[in-house]
Homo-oligomer: 693 residues x 2
């Protein structure tokens, strides 16, 4: 839960006075870098605090933060971990509102570190100190010229915020960004999150007018439901790009071992983010490229692209990429535009899209074409490609682009090495930037279009009940709910389990009568038989109730071979049905709570992984989307004149299952499998409920 007031953040991001606890004149130490970085920024009151020195970098040093006469807005702490509780207590007594603990040696190092972290958490709570860290890189504000970190670079001013659970990635991004002219508004390294978490900054950034776009690196999420609510609010106001580490099994292991936190399942996490309108990327390159795009002021999807080039080959590759993209298209140029282009370009030039001014074109030819293309209404943005050829004027062309970019979004792709370097530098330092390959432009624009198109799902997303106990992934015996309890539970949420439960063969005729005409199926009900089919616990195509007694015998006989001691509660008798096989399931994520999964049965789920997933609550709207999202949807809608199945009935099942899961936190998994969907109804043929063990 967000736990720092808005006003407090000013103490973090633009403090009037900063105490550096652990300041030192030894250049290889963190405390030295902190002092140097702070002094290199906007003038503020800087108070070095050190036990042994009388001055640090020309500033009078204090023995304790308590010795400082003036008020202190922010304390940066870089002393040995075991001394941190002492200095933090002093900060509390001094009424320092905000502290950033850079020091490592806490939870991440295990053992005594875990206790130390608990200790500082308690101190911060007692004295109402807002705490960032420990074990973090620090904080920066490009707009307020504050580098409260030990990173060598300081960010250029910009309007992008970066929030990271990894300090190393922060350093790399910052170095890259500064080199390529990308600036930041806020730059936050979260560290161990003993105090403030990613949630506080999601909350803060929603109303931070200096940040127009947000980049986030996450390894774990503190609270799934709150995350979705806050991220959704933030993403409604500005683009939010998120890269999550620990998507794969090995990645999750790595994260768990170094943060000690449970990571959500990747599919659940991604579904949650997408539903909140967040742009999820899987690669660092994509993250960096989106930063480049934001730097150019591009924050809304641009779909219809023109390509302007001095070389055929690369532009055809670009055209291919754009044409293959689901969210972009090659703009259709109007006849007027083509005629105007023809008038100013040499006869060999191509005036379609791509517009190819050919290899011997210099800056003036680019300008002639740009002057026309920026007025073409069918074009949202122009990808300007340049390859180094004999007459190419890279720097002059770069200057041109800088000025034309004010009229229409331009996406420069200068390809090459040394020959174009000066032009690229000019682009980067004049507010544009360069994408080295057309692939980069296309993937960045596509990510933006996708993320912003789906948009936040809105009020459907309320706080979900947190899992009472996290699901673990180790193999242990599952606790299966028995048939009659399952049947009752489902019924309470309006889900009817098909068939008649029969305790003994004597009840068969009555059940048969109830089920009506047509062949029947029988399956065993036993707490000891998990894989019914494999154990011979299922008989299909039983002609009628009179043949059922034989089937009963047969089942008992078969099952006893594999499970000699199986307790038999009875059998379920069902009518055989024709229809489309569907699976609707629930799996409780340790962080995000119940996830509802929908897919076609058999091959579609197993081999094709063709499923849709939503974090509960699933409402009518999201159930509707889910069902239509799977690739196999046309099968449900009916192929070649076939009648569609009752899709509303399937949606209703998903919504009911979501309600059930939210209200019953002790259930870790439910499978309605198979559900037979017919034109009339959705019949739940079998259900399996697994309880937390």
């Amino acid at each position: 839960m967000p736990n720092a007031s808005r006003a407090r953040f000013t103490a973090l991001f633009d403090p009037r006075s900063v105490a550096v606890i652990g300041a030192t004149p030894e250049p290889q130490k963190v405390g030295y870098s902190l002092m140097r970085n702070l002094l290199a920024g906007k003038p503020r009151e800087i108070f070095p605090v050190t036990v042994s020195q009388t001055s640090v970098l020309g500033k009078r040093a204090y023995r304790s933060v308590l010795d400082i006469e003036s008020p202190v807005d922010l304390a940066l702490i870089a002393v040995r971990a075991d001394i941190v509780p002492h200095v933090l207590t002093e900060c509390g007594k001094k009424r320092v509102p905000f502290a950033v603990i850079i020091s490592a040696g806490f939870k991440e190092s295990g053992g005594a570190g875990i206790q130390l972290e608990e200790q500082i958490r308690a101190i911060a709570k007692k004295y109402k100190i807002s705490l960032l860290g420990p074990n973090c890189l620090g904080v920066m504000n490009g707009r307020a010229d504050l580098n409260g970190s030990f990173a060598a670079d300081k960010p250029m001013p910009g309007d992008i915020a970066f929030v990271s659970q990894s300090g190393a990635l922060g350093s790399a991004l910052l170095d890259w960004a500064t080199t390529h002219g990308v600036g930041f508004s806020k730059f936050v390294s979260l560290g161990n999150e003993a105090g403030l978490t990613e949630l506080d900054f999601l909350d803060y950034l929603a109303t931070d007018t200096e940040s127009n776009a947000v980049l986030i690196y996450l390894e774990h999420v503190t609270d799934g439901a709150t995350f979705m609510a806050l991220a959704g609010r933030l993403a409604k106001k500005k683009p939010v790009v998120l890269i999550k580490a620990g998507r794969s099994a090995r990645g999750r292991q790595a994260v768990a071992s170094h943060t000690g936190s449970l990571a959500p399942e990747d599919a659940v996490f991604t579904a949650a983010c997408r539903a909140s309108g967040i742009i999820v990327v899987e690669s660092l390159r994509e993250l960096f490229n989106l930063a480049r795009l934001f730097r150019m002021g591009i924050r809304q999807p641009l779909r219809r692209l023109a390509v302007l080039t001095n070389g055929g080959g690369p532009s055809v590759i670009a055209a291919d990429l754009i044409d293959s993209s689901p969210s972009l298209e090659l703009a259709e140029l109007s006849e007027t535009t083509k005629q105007k282009l023809r008038a100013v370009l040499p006869p060999m030039a191509s005036v379609g899209n791509p517009v190819d001014i050919i290899g011997d074109g210099g800056a003036s030819r680019y300008e002639a074409a740009l002057g026309i293309l920026i007025n073409e209404k069918n074009v949202d943005a122009i990808m300007v490609m340049l390859t180094p050829q004999m007459m190419t004027e890279t720097e002059k062309t770069a200057e041109l682009l800088v000025s034309y970019a004010k009229k229409k979004p331009l996406l420069p792709v200068f390809m090459g090495g040394a020959a174009i370097q000066k032009g690229v530098a000019r682009l980067e330092h004049r507010g544009l930037g360069n994408f080295w390959f057309p692939d980069d432009v296309v993937s960045a624009l596509e990510a933006l279009a996708l993320g912003r198109a789906e948009g936040p799902a809105g009020p459907g997303y309320k706080k979900s009940a947190p899992a009472s106990a996290p699901t673990t992934h180790a193999k242990r015996p599952v606790r299966l709910m028995d048939y009659s309890k399952t049947e009752k539970l489902l019924r309470r949420y309006g889900i009817r389990l098909d068939g008649a439960f029969v305790r003994s063969p004597k009840e068969l005729p009555a059940a048969g009568k109830k089920l009506g005409k047509g062949p029947l199926a029988m399956k065993i009900v036993s707490p000891d038989v998990v894989h019914k089919t494999d154990a011979g616990g299922v008989v299909l195509n039983i002609a009628d109730a009179s043949a059922a007694a034989g089937a009963w015998e047969h089942i008992i006989h078969s099952v006893k071979k594999s499970y000699p001691k199986a307790r038999v509660n009875g059998m379920v008798l069902q009518r055989m049905r024709n229809g489309k096989e569907v699976i609707i399931g629930m799996k409780r994520d340790p962080v995000f709570g119940p996830a509802i999964i929908f897919g076609l049965g058999g091959i579609f789920v197993e081999a094709m992984k063709d499923t849709a997933l939503r974090v509960a609550p699933v409402n009518a709207k999201s159930a509707n989307e889910m069902v239509r999202e799977i690739k196999g949807f046309p099968l449900l809608k009916g192929l070649r004149g076939e009648r569609p199945v009752n899709i509303a009935a399937l949606e209703k099942l998903a919504v009911s299952l979501s309600r059930l899961a939210l209200a019953n936190p002790k259930i870790s998994e439910i499978d309605l499998n198979p559900v037979i969907a017919t034109a009339k109804e959705a019949v739940v043929v079998d259900a399996r409920v697994i309880l937390n063990s």
Copy 2:
């Protein structure tokens, strides 16, 4: 067809004497650049030929190539297009074996250019001149220090060959490569291919000992079958990476308009390349990254990766990417290795994989870890990640990597900007290189693994009969082969069309008897009814032959509503069958000839695009692969104890269809759809044969 002898290529790639026809002292002209570039290389006899100057760049100029006393190996021609026939004739008379025509203004500019190109083609043939171009950048040989092009850069010596149908891409790649320390053996710009084509170079490079890897950029293919044969031979010897422009509809349009050539369908082309063992990439970034990999001497797949890093976050992202890759894996480090690492690294370091030496580690800590990891048998290559942090020693670490890379393949990923630039420069100029993001390493290694794993398909690929007339993509009425001809044609190739053809209701009882028990289906046979089902031309579930007469009436009645004038040849009566629906089809590509397509029916082909494709001839081996390649294969193999369908029968159909298509070039398309696959057989229920119109 390859049309230049091996010996001749020496005249191109390492000529003793070169005539520059169109040499000039005017620096902005191509003829000047050619002279300058040649003179900057290894000493050779260079003869400027010019009508008006007496000397060019200090060399005595000739009026005609005929005036040169010594023999001339290579003529570089850069004069106005309309003068080219004249100077080429002179080259012929002078017995110059090889000519490169740089000049533009031929086929690519249409009109008179087309005739001019025919003219020079005839001259070259008459005088047996091997011709490169026209409209090309030229030729380079990094090993022999030859820059026979007008590109500003000259390539560094290396062992990568580049063959390109785009000059602009060549310039960009060359500039990039030279800046990043990537050298080339041969560098060929193909231009309009009036003489030599890509095929000649595929042929030549297979035995060129100076080239250990080949990069190709193609917009069109001269001859599909020969391409596959030569590419297959080349790819057996060295990795071949190919990027093709014009994959999308718009891209193909662009290529067609500027080369006037027919482009193969992308799916067919890709299938052909993969079958030949070629690594097909879709993005320029991937092409460039593979060049980087080859530069490092990595030409064989490396699967088991260790990640060594000084920062947690980026390495978790790398671990995710590796773990999610189908062809790579995070190596399992042995206990011994972990113990050794524990002994040399600080307690907070992580010794799993990724191995994290943590942020305060300098070069010596990288060295300690590397020294251990290079001896770990489970590791094929080490991705060495570096982020700029306080104690990071980029240059020293770069030096280290250069020396350790001799012992085990290292893949450096230094992430950042200015802070790491010097380290990156050191890597690049000492024979390694840097991948800026882990994504780049993973995608390059994956492409290599994929391409090399599939490998050339071997002798199954023979020359296919070229299409007698290329299939066009405009909508025109299709010419459908009639039922009895189709039935006969298929039978000739061992494909039996199911059911009995019945000319009149009187024949129904006999036909019913022949077909045996079980419900029947009836469908109309009419040259005028293309969409039988929609027109009511199909009746299913006819109880027996006696009910068939009614069905006949019903069909006639229904069809006449939509097609009042439909000619009715009769009906086909079939037994209804249960089984898996499959589609086997053929489509003739204008360049590669018949492509055979296999997929599951209905939704699988339509919505899931789950098909396998092979260029004919399809033999037993490739048919076997095809069937197993589709995602839906488990359905055919049988789910949950179901019996598998007769897969061999499906394979046989694909092979037969391939034979049929090769022998009947006038057929443009065949659909066997549906084919019902059962445990016993594969029944062709319907077939549609389309003829070239």
